[in-house]
């Protein structure tokens, strides 16, 4: 997905959005672990080149880590540097952990005395920050999820949240191997998202000339399949737009989903 802060800046100056905003990702140090008491460290950043820290850190205000039993796991050693944020997770339960930064926000722009104004924040704070009846007011709402998955021991089933754009992993996200195909289903508020473009890019772009993006489209059931050409860390992104806003001033809701998936060699 496109980082919201960058997005806000991009919206203010130019269109189209997608071409202007930066991408976001979470990068775990391992995705498959065998220790009883394992640790992973996760980096979080926004930038153009997948998994290279060369732009801005990701804000972790809305970081949610769900343990295999559904409880919330507290991140440790949380820090934000110049170009990336980082945190550690102690995996004491066996199973799959869902690590996600979920942002639900509104972006407003308007004019005051001929000067352009803009504001980005939570839907509930809109009225307090944007004057009622502001001139040329344009409000858009966004729901974005950036996530990754890590499994200690045996993979466990992930429950969909039913909110926003999200990927249901029909093939377990920590059971991906080069040369095999994985099946996923894209959902929008818990319902199949048909005809949505999904972009898949392998990391390590610095060492090759072509991005090698795989461009897929979800079918009528929101499903899509990815055949992994080789092992590596992959960035998967899907974007959508609808009119299901929760603030009355917003006409449109922008949705984005991003996952980091590790594909292992055979």
């Amino acid at each position: 997905m496109k980082s919201l802060l960058s997005l806000a800046a991009a919206v203010a100056f130019a269109l189209p959005l997608a071409a202007q905003a930066h991408d976001s990702w979470l990068l775990p140090s391992s995705t498959v672990l065998s220790a009883d008491d394992a640790w992973v460290t996760v980096d979080a950043a926004n930038g153009n080149d997948k998994f290279y820290f060369n732009h801005r850190p990701m804000r972790l205000d809305n970081l949610q880590v769900a343990a295999p039993d559904g409880s919330t796991l507290q991140p440790q050693h949380v820090a934000t540097g110049q170009m990336r944020s980082t945190f550690d997770l102690n995996l004491t339960q066996s199973g799959t952990y869902r690590i996600a930064v979920v942002n639900d926000g509104v972006f407003a722009r308007w004019e005051e005395n001929g000067q352009p104004k803009r504001w980005f924040g939570k839907p509930a704070d809109l009225d307090a920050n944007v004057p009622a009846g502001a001139a040329k007011l344009q409000v858009s709402q966004s729901h974005t999820r950036v996530e990754t998955f890590v499994t200690a021991g045996k993979p466990t089933v992930l429950k969909p949240t039913g909110q926003g754009l999200e990927m249901v992993a029909l093939t377990h996200p920590n059971d991906l191997y080069a040369g095999e195909s994985a099946n996923f289903q894209l959902m929008l508020d818990g319902k199949p998202a048909a005809g949505v473009k999904v972009s898949v890019v392998r990391g390590g772009g610095r060492y090759r000339d072509q991005v090698g993006e795989m461009s897929l489209t979800t079918d009528n059931a929101g499903k899509f399949s990815v055949k992994w050409p080789q092992a590596g860390m992959y960035w998967l992104d899907a974007d959508a737009e609808d009119a299901k806003t929760s603030v009355k001033q917003a006409a449109k809701r922008r949705l984005a989903y991003t996952a980091t998936l590790e594909v292992l060699p055979q």
Binding site: L33, D36, K154, P155
Partner: protein
């Protein structure tokens, strides 16, 4: 002996699995010139044609470390971890063992006891996977049919973390 009597009593009308056929495995861990050498972790198992695991035969790792700490690197036995390792708790009875030094290691599995006694007739592969700290990983497969109608011998040679691996089946 029990299996033999049983099959005699049944008059040989049933296709019984493993009529006391024995399976012998010989695994060579090569002597390597490494500045820092650690013995490899090794997993040996029987794989079905769909790559699911029919039986785990041996797992050599740092089994004696306190608090099961030796399990930390079991994931490096990548194929085995995916197919079987992640489904177990540790140590695995009758399978887990200490790492072994360079040299040849002979293992023998009698056909009339678990796990071979439960092995259904069919096509399988013996799989040997080795992964070494600060070293490399290697996996060898030796296909075979179970039970063997006649003595069978299969051999493969590794190039990195495994030397020769041999499989011998006696009917």
């Amino acid at each position: 002996m029990r299996t033999l009597l049983l099959s005699a009593m049944l008059g040989g009308t049933l296709a019984l699995p493993a009529q006391a056929a024995d399976l012998k495995v010989d695994v060579e861990i090569p002597r390597l010139n490494a500045a820092e050498y650690h013995r490899p972790y090794v997993a040996i198992w029987i794989e079905r044609e769909d790559q699911s695991v029919a039986a785990d035969l041996a797992l050599w790792y740092d089994v004696d470390k306190k608090d099961n700490e030796g399990t930390k690197w079991l994931k490096d036995l990548r194929q085995w971890w995916r197919r079987s390792g992640r489904d177990h708790s540790y140590p695995i009875d009758g399978v887990s063992g200490a790492t072994r030094p360079a040299g040849r290691h002979a293992l023998s599995f009698p056909g009339d006891t678990s796990p071979l006694a439960e092995l259904a007739p069919g096509r399988y592969s013996l799989v040997v996977e080795a992964a070494r700290e600060k070293g490399e990983r290697e996996l060898l497969r030796l296909p075979f049919t179970w039970p063997a109608a006649q003595p069978e011998h299969a051999k493969a040679r590794g190039e990195h973390e495994l030397g020769s691996v041999a499989l011998d089946l006696a009917p």
